[in-house]
């Protein structure tokens, strides 16, 4: 534990040194130095940035949860039900690259401008990626692991519960980690309309005002929020994968 905190501190110091040096080298508004940025953060909390944090985390949570649920189910089905998979795979490959942002008009038509269209966009933007990730992960499960269940004629549900799920949980969590960060990027597309709260809105707003110091303050807060969510995912991962002897340190 102590070592972890030490590593974390070292990492933060290194990051700040790099940032500081870059800021000095560039010496333009577009990259303020870290101390100016940190100095401004308390004032953001007075301006109620906690509301923005809440709004964004709320949207990301529901968008990601729905995308993960649907993505995991379809991803597993593609591999485990080969007949379904053979048709679903090419469909997936056609639908996956469609730029989801261009579906915004349709999404707004059905879901309006409020929370639901934002969560809907997060869902749309993430669900295919989760499907592909989970599918790729489940494809890697060695067939032998299923044998002992086949012999006992386990049901589809039992096979899922005892083999597919535990074998792919690490990959699923990896997919969620990746989506988590992508989701924050998507906030920048969805929090620019119909809302005035959210970290994405805040950062874009300060950007368009060219208030770079505040913009970076917003980014720092976003990073910290995401960092906390990552740590939660890591702990979940460590718990679910106790059986694996991990070489890789969390930090």
């Amino acid at each position: 534990m102590a070592r972890r905190i030490r590593n974390l501190v070292i990492a933060i110091i290194i990051l700040n040194i790099i940032w500081y040096l870059a800021a000095i080298a560039i010496s333009k508004d577009i990259l303020p130095n870290p101390f100016t940025v940190y100095a401004i953060i308390p004032s953001l909390f007075k301006e109620n940035i906690s509301l923005d944090i809440y709004a964004s985390v709320y949207r990301v949570f529901w968008g990601l949860l729905s995308a993960t649920l649907v993505g995991v189910i379809i991803g597993i089905m593609i591999v485990r039900l080969p007949k379904f998979g053979r048709i679903a795979n090419p469909m997936l490959y056609f639908l996956y690259p469609i730029p989801k942002i261009s579906l915004l008009p349709i999404l707004m038509l059905f879901l309006g401008l409020g929370e639901s269209s934002k969560i809907g966009m997060l869902f749309l933007a993430n669900v295919f990626q989760v499907i592909v990730s989970v599918r790729d992960q489940v494809r890697q499960i060695p067939g032998d692991l299923y044998s002992s269940l086949h012999v006992l004629k386990a049901s589809h549900w039992q096979i899922f519960k005892y083999v597919t799920w535990p074998a792919s949980i690490a990959g699923t969590l990896s997919a969620v980690r990746i989506e988590l960060s992508a989701s924050f990027a998507i906030l920048f597309m969805t929090e620019v309309y119909g809302t005035q709260v959210g970290l994405g809105y805040y950062i874009m707003d300060e950007w368009s005002k060219m208030e770079y110091t505040k913009m970076y303050a917003g980014i720092v807060i976003l990073s910290i929020v995401a960092f906390i969510l990552f740590i939660i995912l890591e702990l979940l991962d460590a718990h679910c994968n106790r059986w694996r002897k991990k070489d890789a340190p969390l930090f």
Partner: protein, 302 residues
């Protein structure tokens, strides 16, 4: 990377005369009629004749334009007074407005709307984009009609086509649009509630560096600009062409443009008075509260 894609679809660059005496200027333009004279001047070689090597870079999104100007990638930019407040945040005025441009704005409403006048917008939902020229336009129009802007529910929808979609699908009572889209709105069966006249001019060209400090360069530049304005005013078909090819605006818009923009204004000092009003608006809205003297940010055209 020797085979990088070539921008061969349309030439947004005036064929650069690599003469050492030419002054290089990069201008960030927006896909709006305001930028048309710049393209004419570039296409017809007016800038070149003045010894200027002007490169026009088209932006579809004001944020990207501002990123480019902050990064020092442009010496001039097509802006509006409202968004120019962002350029006024730096300690000393490095960006100034050197000439007014020509643009028009209006409010579109659905075909069967029961909104008959601006007053009727009270309590209704209006699709707009905050802190851009359209939001100031709406503010001013509402005030002129005796409506408190706070009484209108303005929702922020940055994508202009999306605003139009919203009134078509009755998700909003009205949409504030720049002129090009007013034409589309009409083509698609919407009605125009109100529209700005030639007295409402809040777009301008912001400049820094040589174009700003070197009076000689500036007057050459504006001379080329004025020639282009003449060309546009004399040859409506040139406007149609520029609209469609350089600014990538929809064909119906381009076709209707000569009627909507019968006269482009020659280079003209941006109005300090209007700027003051915009600053007042910005203060009320709370997005720009710094005390500044507008005159410090405007260079007279002479």
């Amino acid at each position: 990377a020797g085979c990088s894609p070539k921008e061969s679809k349309s030439s947004s660059t005036s064929s650069s005369a690599q003469n050492s005496k030419t002054t290089k200027i990069t201008i960030a333009t927006m896909a709006a009629p305001d930028s048309a004279p710049l393209y004419v001047a570039a296409d017809k070689g007016y800038f070149k004749k003045e010894g200027l090597d002007v490169k026009l870079s088209l932006f579809k999104d004001p944020n990207k334009r501002d990123a480019a100007t902050s990064a020092g990638q442009a010496d001039a930019a097509v802006v509006d007074f409202t968004s120019f407040t962002s350029y006024m945040r730096s300690k000393k005025p490095d960006w100034k407005l050197i000439t007014q441009l020509t643009g028009r704005f209006g409010v579109a409403i659905p075909k069967n709307s029961n909104v008959k006048s601006v007053k009727d917008l009270k309590g209704k939902k209006v699709a707009n984009m905050s802190r851009q020229v359209t939001s100031y336009y709406m503010y001013k129009t509402l005030k002129q009609n005796g409506v408190n802007p706070k009484d209108v529910d303005q929702v922020n929808v940055p994508q202009i086509p999306q605003r139009l979609e919203m009134i078509k699908n009755n998700q909003a009572a009205a949409a504030v649009l720049p002129q090009t889209f007013l034409t589309i709105a009409k083509v698609q069966g919407c009605k125009i509630l109100t529209q700005s006249g030639s007295d409402f001019q809040v777009t301008a060209l912001a400049a820094k560096g040589k174009l700003l400090s070197d009076k000689d360069v500036r007057s050459k530049f504006l001379k080329a600009y004025n020639r282009a304005v003449n060309e546009l005013n004399d040859h409506p078909d040139v406007l149609t062409q520029v609209m469609e090819k350089d600014l990538s605006l929809p064909a119906p818009v381009a076709k209707a443009a000569p009627k909507q923009f019968p006269r482009y204004n020659k280079a003209k000092t941006p109005s300090v008075k209007t700027m003051k009003q915009v600053l007042k608006f910005a203060k009320e809205e709370g997005f720009f509260t710094k005390k500044v003297n507008p005159a410090d940010y405007i260079v007279p055209v002479d």
